[in-house]
Amino acid sequence: MQDNRNIYTPIRARLTDVIEESPSIKTFVVVPEDKFSFKTGQFIELSVDGVGEAPFTPSSSPLITEKLEVTVMKTGYVTEYMHMLKPGVLMGIRGPYGRGYPVEAFFGKEVLILGGGCGLAPIRSLLYTLESIKDKLVKVILCYGSKTPADCIYKPLFDRLNSIEKFEAYRTVDKADEDWDGSVGVATTLLNKIKINIKNSVAVVCGPPIMMKFGTIRLLEMGYKDDQIYLSMEKNMSCGLGKCGHCMMGEFFVCRDGPVFTYDEIKHNPEIWK
């Protein structure tokens, strides 16, 4: 039977909790009223009635389907409004959209994840997924950088990951305060710390465009091949359907063909770091 639903119509989801992650980042816990599931790395459109919608990659585990967590950085009109919302209001979600992480391709390998800033949101979802299949992986290393200690999101995540067999997690800050006794420097400096068998490894990069550019260059210098590096082109997502054209990147629609690409697939596009 033909489905006549408007593809832009969201399903209702109730906001049940708001977690403050940093001065400019909050996590919204929403409970969809209809059945909803996603694969790690896929994204959704989260909307506020009368205000607008924006694309986000859920930060929660795809294995948990009764609720969804979406981590939102305050950057514009819609996200500023979202940051004022209190639990209890109804929001809208549509999706999931795009191509997520091909986790089956990670089986038998070491997974290096390089993240920065709010890029840890989609990475957290990936980490939950990798944790659930850790028996099939050699190891997982997370290297994460934030601007300051206060800007670091999901702080308890790092101790938790370090307590899981096969997982290692490191973090650094660009600018330390007096209480910070960890690493100082950009995210790529953490790559001096890790031991990894590059030939049997894949790397995942997610974060601000500058971090993704310098991170990818360093991974290539380390010996990673173009098709071993997975980039999550979060910034370029728009309507979710590849209809509006805002997500066009060369021959690809990021909403439809991504947001996860190998560097090999998109390296020829001069605009990938914009």
Binding site: T172, D181, T188, N192, K193, F214, I217
Partner: protein
């Protein structure tokens, strides 16, 4: 404190050196230990040794005025620093300070460059590694600069 080939094999910097090449390092190096807040060298100091961090914690930064230190980063185990010791004018571009009890391998820079002249393969390999260290430091600094410019 005596250094052995096995000690050096555990240090990332020496990953692809042969035993004979490691013996060269052993002949011109010593281990130095530093306490918390010990300054290994100041910005603009003349440097005579190249260091490799064996264990501990080191901060690296620049000074914009006397008593005003800006920390730019930390160093990780196995990382080389004080590379200015092998390049004229042999003047440090940053200060380095211990933030916990720290052990470093100190390589005599004059003797090292003398070994480069005697053994070109050893010299090329080591200078390539030093160049890579500088390249990474430059790339990280550009990354840091871009972060600041786009705030």
């Amino acid at each position: 404190m005596k250094i052995t080939i096995e000690d050096l094999k555990n240090v990332r910097f020496f990953d692809d050196y042969t035993d004979d090449q490691l013996k060269i390092f052993i002949g011109i190096s010593s281990i130095k230990e530093f306490k918390v807040k010990d300054v290994l060298f100041e910005q603009y100091d003349e440097l005579k040794e190249i260091y490799i961090l064996l264990s501990g914690c080191l901060s690296l930064g620049i000074s914009i005025a006397k008593e005003k230190r800006i920390r730019l980063g930390t160093l990780e185990d196995g990382q080389l620093f004080s590379w200015s010791a092998v390049f004229s004018p042999y003047i440090s571009t940053a200060w380095v300070m211990a933030t916990c009890p720290t052990k470093v391998l100190a390589i005599d820079a004059k003797k090292l460059t003398h070994e480069f002249e005697k053994n070109c393969e050893f010299g090329f390999k080591t200078m390539s590694k030093i160049a890579q260290t500088i390249s990474h430091r430059l790339s990280d600094t550009r990354f840091q600069l871009m972060n600041q410019l786009t705030l």
